[in-house]
């Protein structure tokens, strides 16, 4: 999922940096009133958890596989505005310290995982869990669908970005089906993990959930 340097044209890199920074400004304005030391600490713990989860590759025979991305999980817990900042921390650390994802493509990677995955996952979770009555079962089903389809959307968008590079005419016909198919298929694993982790955190009343519930009562989302 991490796009390395060299896969996107300069125009795409610049455009996605601009979009991501603009979203960041909006996210800051929307969430500013709930950002305090408690929120920042909780976000950094969430970011550390996402970082560790991304180190777990799913070993599927045949080889084409993924690791956990967690956009829906972050969105479900903290909403799309604060979740964005967790991804800025994770993806910047991965790019600068571990060369996982490029520097020129950092804007694109934050856009795909910290905006598209988070927004789609969060929206689906909200719609499904409310439609099913807000019960524990509804929460689990919503988290599963949010995790699954959020990742499928992020992978598809990454395929569009790579495929629309001017250096490769018609490449989008190759990249979008490949990325969409595999992320939709493998996203099922992401959905299962998201559902399990959300259910575990809420049932255990994890400190992360306690902070998240306090924030949601301030209706910042």
């Amino acid at each position: 999922m991490h796009i390395p340097d060299g896969y996107l044209s300069p125009a795409w890199c610049i455009a996605l940096y601009i979009v991501t920074i603009s979203y960041g400004v909006i996210a800051w304005r929307k969430a500013r009133h709930v950002i305090n030391s408690e929120t920042v600490t909780a976000l950094s713990v969430l970011a550390a958890g996402i970082f560790v989860a991304m180190m777990f590759n799913w070993p599927i025979p045949g080889g084409t596989s993924l690791h956990f991305v967690g956009g829906a999980l972050a969105g479900i817990l903290f909403g799309p505005w604060l979740a964005f900042f967790a991804y800025v921390m994770v993806l910047t650390t991965q790019a600068i310290v571990f060369h996982d994802g490029g520097i020129t493509t950092l804007g694109a990677n934050i856009f795909n995982m910290g905006i598209v995955d988070v927004l789609v996952g969060y929206a689906i979770y909200r719609i499904v869990s409310r439609a099913l009555g807000g019960t524990r079962k509804a929460r689990v089903i919503g988290a599963f669908l949010g995790g699954w389809l959020g990742l499928a959307a992020a992978g598809t968008v990454a395929g569009i970005e790579i495929g629309l590079s001017p250096s490769f005419p018609y490449a989008v016909r190759i990249t979008v089906p490949a990325m969409a198919f595999w992320h939709t298929l493998l996203g099922i694993v992401e959905g299962v993990i998201t559902a399990f982790v959300v259910d575990y955190l809420y049932e255990k009343q994890s400190p992360l959930v306690q902070v998240a519930l306090k924030l949601s009562s301030k209706t910042y989302t």
Binding site: P4, D5, T41, L43, A48, F51, V52, N57, G159
Partner: protein
């Protein structure tokens, strides 16, 4: 309440996960020839990664250490960086 007091349980779980992470990130990944969908797309387009900067811990390796041990150390470095940034920002917020 401090980071290490409030999130003690979560941090313990993360530490445990980092210790077992090479099983999935290195050993089983090598066994199944792990590659991501983006690698499939890149191969079809003959895309190549540009090496425009260098970090000592590229690909979660630590120079001089076996990949599995390096992966674990890299994991701890990663969460130390993230939690460190968080702690600095939180300290600034509380002023």
């Amino acid at each position: 309440m401090s980071l290490f007091t409030r999130y003690k349980g979560t941090l313990k779980i993360l530490a445990l996960l980092i210790i077992i992470s090479p099983l999935f990130g290195i050993i089983l990944a090598e066994k199944v020839n792990y590659h991501e969908p983006i690698d499939v797309a890149a191969e079809k387009l003959h895309l190549h990664e540009l090496d425009i900067y260098h970090t000592p811990f590229s690909d979660y390796e630590v120079p001089g250490l076996p990949p599995t041990i390096g992966y674990i150390i890299a994991g701890f470095i990663g969460i130390a960086v993230i939690l460190g940034i968080g702690a600095l920002a939180a300290k600034r917020m509380s002023k």
